[in-house]
């Protein structure tokens, strides 16, 4: 250790402009970093304070989860059953994944493992552009293009249904899933591919036997994030699903999603009314579900490091 006295050390610690700039930058970056946490906490507190008192005092939890009857505006006997809404969200998200998983994994495998040079660059840009299409535009496509196509193709009276919304949502979720899945594939060390190819494996054998197993957790995370996206998506689902309360029995049934319910009804409720509060309860539910999905995805990704 040095035996300098403190006075000498202070003399060495020069507070010139660079010192102040450095401190200022540190503070700014700190504020930027922490603001995200504060905002999320703030949102959580807000939604919680609007919804929680209602959940504790008035809500019949059994009815809430098991009744398909959502009649918040009934004067005489309002019921708040979200079973049909959950079924709507689940059926649309489920179908969306059926569409999105093969598309996005296929695209990711092609871009990461087979496409070369310019093809790959163009594809990547196109996929990123697809991810940037606003959801209302997707909803518009569902409403004005998919709707008549479904009516004609399947000879059904209404084209705004699970099939329409699921398909639209699948196309919406696919680009982001593709990007994440591609990142997962790219993270597989090149040495594995080289080793397998040097042993005579074909490109497809390399992908199937080496790359996919190695990227498994990243791919699962991509799918989970897609599910989270589907769960939380509002506008496109609102426009394409038909927005009528139903326990769907076929893909041609119109349904209503949790998110769409909040979006459509919150503006028309009296602040502080039971209806208003139950919509916040839906918000809490959505928040928890997407939080759990994202957390799971995150944990799955971290699992890579453990192996």
């Amino acid at each position: 250790m040095s035996s300098r006295d403190p006075g000498q050390a202070a003399a060495l610690d020069r507070r010139d402009l660079a010192w102040y700039v450095d401190k200022l930058a540190q503070i700014l970056v700190f504020i930027g970093g922490i603001s995200g946490i504060i905002l999320i906490l703030g949102i959580f507190v807000f939604i919680g304070s609007e919804g929680l008192p209602f959940i504790v005092s008035k809500l019949n939890i059994g009815e809430f989860f098991t009744s398909p009857l959502w009649r918040p505006t009934s004067e005489a006997n309002p019921t708040y059953g979200i079973l049909a809404l959950m079924a709507g969200t689940a059926s649309v998200t489920g179908l969306a994944m059926v569409v999105a998983v093969p598309f996005s994994l296929g695209a990711a495998i092609y871009i990461a493992e087979f496409a070369r040079g310019r093809t790959r660059e163009v594809l990547k840009v196109l996929v990123e552009m697809l991810a940037a299409i606003p959801s209302v535009v997707w909803g518009f496509i569902g409403l004005s293009i998919m709707n008549p196509v479904i009516i004609k193709l399947f000879n059904v009276p209404v084209g705004l249904n699970v099939l329409n919304a699921g398909f639209i949502l699948g196309l919406m979720a696919a680009p982001i899933m593709t990007t994440i899945a591609e990142d997962a594939l790219k993270a597989v060390p090149e040495g594995y591919r080289e080793a397998a190819e040097a042993m005579g494996a074909t490109r497809w054998q390399v992908v199937r036997n080496v790359v996919l197993p190695a990227a498994k957790s990243g791919l699962v995370a991509a799918v989970l994030l897609g599910v989270g996206r589907g769960f939380g998506e509002t506008m496109a689902v609102l426009m394409a699903s038909g927005h009528s309360i139903n326990l769907p029995t076929s893909p041609f049934d119109s349904v209503r999603a949790l998110t769409a319910t909040i979006a459509a009804e919150l503006g028309e409720t009296a602040v502080g009314s039971d209806h208003y509060r139950v919509l916040f309860t839906l918000g809490i539910l959505l928040f928890l579900v997407t939080f759990v999905i994202n957390l799971t995805a995150d944990l799955v990704v971290r699992g890579i490091g453990k192996k």
Binding site: A195, A196, E197, A198, M199
Partner: protein
């Protein structure tokens, strides 16, 4: 017996081999004959093309996509650059060991069986027992069996580096390659690991033609039968190792061996 081997045809023959990475020419008119069932070391300063030459012999170079080659490389009498050549077959005959041990992210057992499963004919069933035998034989050959016999299902990537490198050699053996290419196989290992892998390479000669790139002059000297010296993409000298290190024919070789550059 030694005389007999010398009379055998060489395992690898390159004729006026030129290679470009894009517009950069990395190899110039390489004529090389690699003797069968011997260890041939390639030495030379960084960037002299020795790794490039090595990676041309199983055409793994072509993964890069911007590589152009002229001339020919014959492996056991077949030109591997003929258009109708099946790369899968080339790589069955020519195994490769890389600079950094790169076991696949599978179990030890699956690593050893990977090549075998890849080259197995479609529809042919191999019983678990047969596979066990293949695994044991290959691991015994690389002196790894006793270390890993109890954890064959464990992840190969958790082995020590030296053991990983031995495993990378073991997984080549079940498909019975004729040639083993090794790209500085000991450079990521500590002295003990280097010694163990070198001994293993020395043990394998006689059964396999081994072409090994090395930066380590002492390694080339003690662990090879023949030595190839390359400089700036050209083959300068190719003689028996004991001769090269005692009486090199070219001034460049002498300078390099004595450490005046490189």
């Amino acid at each position: 017996m030694k005389e007999q081997r010398i009379n055998e045809a060489p395992a690898i023959v390159t004729e006026s081999l030129n290679l470009w990475y894009g517009t950069f020419q990395a190899l110039f008119d390489i004529d090389l004959e690699v003797s069968r069932n011997k260890v041939t070391a390639m030495i030379g300063p960084s960037g002299c093309g020795k790794t490039t030459l090595l990676r041309s012999v199983n055409r793994i170079n072509e993964r890069l996509g911007y590589v152009r080659t002229t001339g020919s490389i014959e492996v056991l009498g077949h030109d591997i650059y003929e258009p109708e050549v099946d790369l899968v077959q080339v790589r069955k005959q020519v195994g490769m060991v890389f600079q950094r041990p790169n076991p696949l992210p599978l179990s030890i057992r699956d690593n050893v069986l990977f090549g075998h499963r890849t080259h197995r004919e479609r529809g042919v069933k191999v019983s678990r027992q047969d596979e066990d035998e293949i695994v044991e034989k290959a691991l015994r050959e690389v002196l790894l069996w006793d270390t890993v016999r109890d954890r064959l299902a464990g992840a190969a990537t958790e082995l020590a580096l030296e053991e990983q490198q031995k495993l990378c050699i073991a997984r080549l053996l079940p498909v019975k390659p004729a040639v083993l290419l090794m790209d500085e196989p000991c450079s990521a290992l500590d002295p003990n690991g280097t010694e163990a892998v070198e001994e293993l390479i020395w043990d394998l000669r006689g059964d396999y033609t081994i072409l090994i790139v090395t930066h380590n002059m002492a390694q080339a000297r003690r662990a090879s039968d023949e030595c190839v010296f390359m400089l700036l993409g050209k083959l300068v000298e190719h003689t028996r190792t004991d001769k090269m290190f005692v009486a090199p024919k070219h001034q460049e070789t002498a300078d390099y061996i004595e450490g005046r550059y490189g």
